[in-house]
């Protein structure tokens, strides 16, 4: 087995005096889809931000693709191949859909690739985005914004995709499209995925492994094939 794509060792993070991540160890093999589950406020979002570099980590190391990235600013991590779809989607509200996708091309800088055009496969994945490409992203529905946020991350051709609650506040038929997109990302684009999700039945349909957090620590992990969503449901419910 080759080295993991990302390997997090003893990572900690704090907001002022209150520590939210304690000694987090986590590794993802290439091509793996990992579901990160847990109740609200246990540190899932903080962990994603610490991996992306949009929150400083207080201790520990993150190695990505053979390189230590613990101290790198977010844009360098993005250019190294980490794509981010944050909670609340964070589309650029006054940019058009097309412009939002074009910002994602910035991640290709320094990889010897032309960052000229948004690749067609993103529109194949989300045909709706092509139809609304000239509209301002701030006026889109939640589902459309979610597709746009995923498309923008994919435009940077990441090897690791971080997603934070992709189904939150989204109607069921769009959830299906997002699921299909994530299956495509895994099978056709060969990306590694770390997805934070409380909707277990959703992630259980396409993830390989899960890890569960509680009080800023990873308390359990396992294989999705071996454990059912019901077995771990108590870790998410209040």
């Amino acid at each position: 087995m080759s080295a993991p794509l990302i390997e997090i060792t003893a990572l900690s993070s704090a907001y002022g005096q209150s520590q939210v991540l304690w000694d987090v160890d986590l590794a993802l093999e290439r091509g793996q889809v990992m579901a990160l589950i847990g109740r609200n406020g246990v540190g899932k979002t903080t962990l994603l931000h610490a991996i992306m570099g949009t929150r400083p980590s207080a201790g520990g190391t993150i190695r990505f693709d053979g390189q230590e990235i613990t101290k790198l600013p977010p844009h360098k991590r993005s250019r190294a191949g980490i794509g981010f779809v944050p909670q609340g989607r964070h589309v650029f509200p006054q940019l058009t859909v097309m412009e939002n996708l074009e910002t994602g091309l910035s991640a290709l800088a320094g990889r010897g690739k032309g960052a000229a055009k948004v690749p067609q496969h993103i529109f194949d994945l989300f045909p709706k985005l092509y139809d609304i490409r000239a509209r301002a992203a701030g006026f889109l529905s939640g589902g459309e914004q979610q597709q746009l946020a995923i498309g923008r991350a994919l435009a940077g051709e990441p090897s690791l995709l971080l997603l934070d609650e992709p189904t939150e506040g989204i109607q069921p038929n769009v959830v299906q499209q997002i699921e299909a997109a994530l299956v495509h990302v895994r099978d056709e684009l060969g990306m590694t995925v770390l997805v934070v999700e409380q909707y277990l039945d959703f992630v259980w349909r396409f993830a390989d492994r899960y890890c569960a957090m509680q009080n800023g620590r990873i308390i359990r992990h396992g294989s999705i094939a071996e454990e059912s969503a019901k077995d771990v449901a108590h870790l998410v419910q209040i």
Binding site: H90, Q94, G138
Partner: protein, 295 residues
């Protein structure tokens, strides 16, 4: 309408152009970095002195044309220096930035006093800028027409840059969501630096225009920086369209008020007008409205 009114209307348009050139840099860097550069007025001063020096070397019509790029580049370089040595290092602390850049402003003013003297220097405008046109009994000085033209060109160029180029796209992205821009692979600090240089350069250009109207003194920037701040505040903090609209409103207001009262009372009325305006419309001339689903 009488000639005085039309005359002041025209003066107001050229004053608005100066306000706009002085305020654009402030609006751009506030929109992006949420910091206020108190030394911005000194970029005008620097531009004025650079114009004077250019005209010493190359007198005549060519000199004033040459002064424009010289002042732009010189002020942009000074802005870049201030941004990279000071503002970047204080980025998360707006109050410290305010204080530190005020210090820079004082140092630059004193530096100019030591180098060029406290009295100020006079730029000899070329002949084609000292004349005037008479239209419908209203005298339009060429220098003021030139200022309006330059402001329009700068505004147009800036709009093209922001709306049609890759760097413009990145600037807008950083402006709207800094965290996400950074996570999308955009080097936000480089964008900050570029915009700060650009805004300082535009202020340097404004300095050339000031030099056409009066002497360049060490504190020439101070008399324009307050109206420029008012323009930015009333424009809606960081919006270019709002900044332009508010520069026009305030320029016309100040010039037309001078029909009835003297210059210093007009300045005071300007301040009162902005305070009242902000009471009625705290979001400024242009408010950014979108469907924000989450925080």
């Amino acid at each position: 309408m009488d000639a005085l009114f039309l005359n002041q209307l025209f003066n107001g348009a050229s004053l608005a152009s100066l306000y706009l050139l002085a305020a654009l840099g402030l609006a751009l860097s506030f929109g992006l970095m949420r910091v206020i550069n108190m030394a911005h007025g000194e970029m005008l001063m620097l531009g004025g002195y650079l114009a004077w020096m250019t005209l010493l070397v190359v007198p005549g019509a060519l000199g004033i044309i040459l002064a424009i790029p010289v002042a732009f580049v010189g002020a942009a370089a000074m802005g870049g220096l201030i941004q990279s040595t000071l503002i970047r290092r204080l980025s998360a602390r707006p109050l410290d930035t305010l204080l530190a850049t005020w210090g820079v402003s004082l140092i630059l003013q004193q530096g100019a006093r030591d180098l060029f003297g406290a009295v100020g220097v006079e730029v000899r405008a070329p002949e084609w800028l000292t004349g005037s046109f008479v239209v419908f009994g209203v005298t339009l000085p060429s220098a003021r027409l030139f200022i309006i033209l330059i402001a329009a060109l700068v505004l147009g160029g800036l709009a093209l840059l922001l709306l049609k180029t890759r760097i413009g796209l990145l600037v807008r992205a950083v402006n709207q969501d800094r965290m996400m821009a950074s996570a999308s692979g955009i080097d936000v600090k480089r964008v900050d630096f570029t915009i700060f240089c650009l805004g300082s350069g535009v202020a340097g250009l404004a300095g050339v225009m000031l030099a056409l109207l009066g002497p360049v003194t060490p504190n020439v920037g101070q008399s324009y920086i307050i109206p420029a701040f008012l323009v930015v505040v009333m424009g809606g903090l960081g919006s270019i369209v709002g900044t332009t609209a508010s520069a026009i409103i305030l320029g016309l207001f100040a010039a037309l008020a001078q029909i009835f009262v003297d210059v210093s009372v007009a300045q005071m009325l300007l301040l009162v007008f902005v305070i009242l305006f902000i009471q009625v419309r705290p979001q400024g001339v242009i408010a950014v409205k979108t469907r924000q689903l989450d925080a």
